[in-house]
């Protein structure tokens, strides 16, 4: 009798009190943004510390302002070959690849234009036409030569991987967690979210997507696992001059903020790096080209918001999408 009782009690304890790993969270200010990392693991505190150190390391590699970063060394030695680290090579290769895939909608040499607009210094203003015209010839990603770990750029060209770094960083952090046996984690790098596995209770993560017309609210939620959800929008960094809004995502065809029908693009996929690069590329491409891009390359899903207030949703997200706004939703199919 006693034995049976103990056995039953043990069984009850085992099932009823299944232990969920404790939630550990860290908040970091890095790469000019606010990051929040959450991990469900016994070893959470140590892993978050490691993740934080890795973020600092990546910031030092990619920074455009720190003089000893790989980016700064390339820009300071235009015309000469520069040795770069593995992280830099991976991100640059992706930048050039998505650049080619989008016909330069993503261009990692856009930096001189960003400077002219003051987006790098907060001295925001519309540059005069001559300034833009003088810089445009130097904005051309095809002039960047990447050969293994050696980069050469022509004089007057500058590179900046800002459009890809946060995505690469969330990949790195999630990868670090995965290598250490974590099965449940979620990170947000300035609103760009990437998840590892599912929630500790086995359900999918619910991720909100910001309403570009009202950026303190969500326009929808998505249910995800093991995926990144990364958005580029015209509400993220902008200024107004003479009643007109100018945002930080520039179009290399005219040197002005990309204004091709979209106000935000959210990309959902397995790789934070790819999603980050694509979100910028698709935003610049605009409505029609973005839809074609998705149809031709695939491998990701997207939510586009048009400047006339419509949501375009690729069919792979149909089931996980929950609308929270009154914008009409059109599902994009593979034709």
């Amino acid at each position: 009798m006693k034995r049976i009782l103990i056995f039953v009690l043990w069984l009850v304890l085992l099932t009823g009190c299944e232990r969920q790993p404790e939630k550990k969270q860290i908040d970091i200010f890095a790469m000019d943004t606010y990051m929040s990392l959450t991990v469900y693991d016994e070893n959470g505190d140590a892993l978050l510390q490691q993740a934080s150190e890795r973020i600092t390391e990546l910031e030092q590699i990619f920074s455009v302002t720190q003089p000893d970063s790989d980016t700064s060394r390339i820009n300071a030695h235009a015309g000469k070959p520069v040795e770069i680290c593995g992280d830099m090579a991976v991100v640059m290769e992706k930048g050039l690849k998505i650049g080619a895939e989008s016909n330069g909608a993503l261009d990692i040499t856009i930096y001189p234009l960003l400077q002219a607009w003051g987006f790098t210094t907060d001295a925001l203003h519309v540059p005069d036409a001559d300034t833009i015209a003088a810089l445009l010839p130097y904005v051309d990603y095809t002039q960047v030569q990447l050969d293994g770990n050696t980069v050469t750029i022509p004089e007057n060209v500058m590179i900046d991987l800002g459009a890809l770094v946060k995505g690469y960083t969330s990949d790195a952090v999630i990868g670090l967690f995965r290598e250490n046996g974590v099965t449940s984690a979620i990170v947000s790098l300035g609103g760009n979210v990437q998840a590892l596995g599912r929630k500790p209770d086995g359900s999918l993560w619910t991720v909100g997507v910001v309403d570009p017309f009202s950026p303190s609210e969500n326009m929808c939620t998505l249910q995800i696992e093991n995926q990144a959800v990364i958005t580029s929008g015209n509400y993220e960094r902008y200024f107004e001059e003479d009643g007109k809004r100018y945002w930080h995502i520039l179009d290399r065809t005219d040197g002005f903020p990309a204004d091709n029908g979209l106000v935000s693009v959210t990309v959902v996929g397995d790789s934070g790096l790819t999603c980050d690069a694509l979100s910028t590329a698709l935003f610049v491409e605009g409505t029609e080209k973005a839809v074609n891009h998705w149809r031709q390359t695939g491998g990701f899903e997207m939510i586009c918001v048009t400047d006339d207030g419509r949501i375009l949703l690729t069919e792979g997200l149909k089931d996980s999408f929950l609308s929270l706004s009154d914008m009409p939703v059109e599902v994009i199919t593979h034709e």
């Binding site: 039953v8 009850v12 950026p215």
Partner: protein
């Protein structure tokens, strides 16, 4: 043996019923709206918005700058700030779990817990 089995079954059913009630109670617990105010990653205040009284809180940054947080009728927002861009003020009321109010220059964050 029969008696033993009966006893075991009774114990099991009692435990089952109790845990069922506990689970239901847990699921029915009202949504708590707890906001956290963090400076450089450290939690300074934890505020239950459902019960918090209307008030303003001044938070000084190391740089000498500041943010004024206002709690009003169960809502929280930054009403004044010494930062140059005022993005934290423009964010308005804290509404969503994934859109925290962030003041980058002052490393201040208000978010739902």
């Amino acid at each position: 043996m029969n008696k033993k089995l009966l006893a075991v079954m009774m114990i099991v059913s009692v435990i089952f019923t109790v845990s069922l009630i506990l689970v239901i109670l847990q699921m029915k617990a009202p949504d708590k709206r707890i906001a956290e105010v963090l400076q450089d990653g450290t939690v300074l205040y934890t505020i239950d918005l459902n019960s918090a009284e209307n008030q303003t809180i001044r938070i000084d940054a190391k740089s000498g700058s500041y943010n004024i947080i206002t709690i009003e009728n169960g809502e929280i927002y930054i009403s004044d700030a010494g930062c140059p861009d005022h993005i934290c003020m423009k964010t308005g009321i804290l509404k969503s779990e994934n859109v925290p109010i962030v003041c980058l220059p002052n490393k201040l964050v208000i978010r739902f817990r």
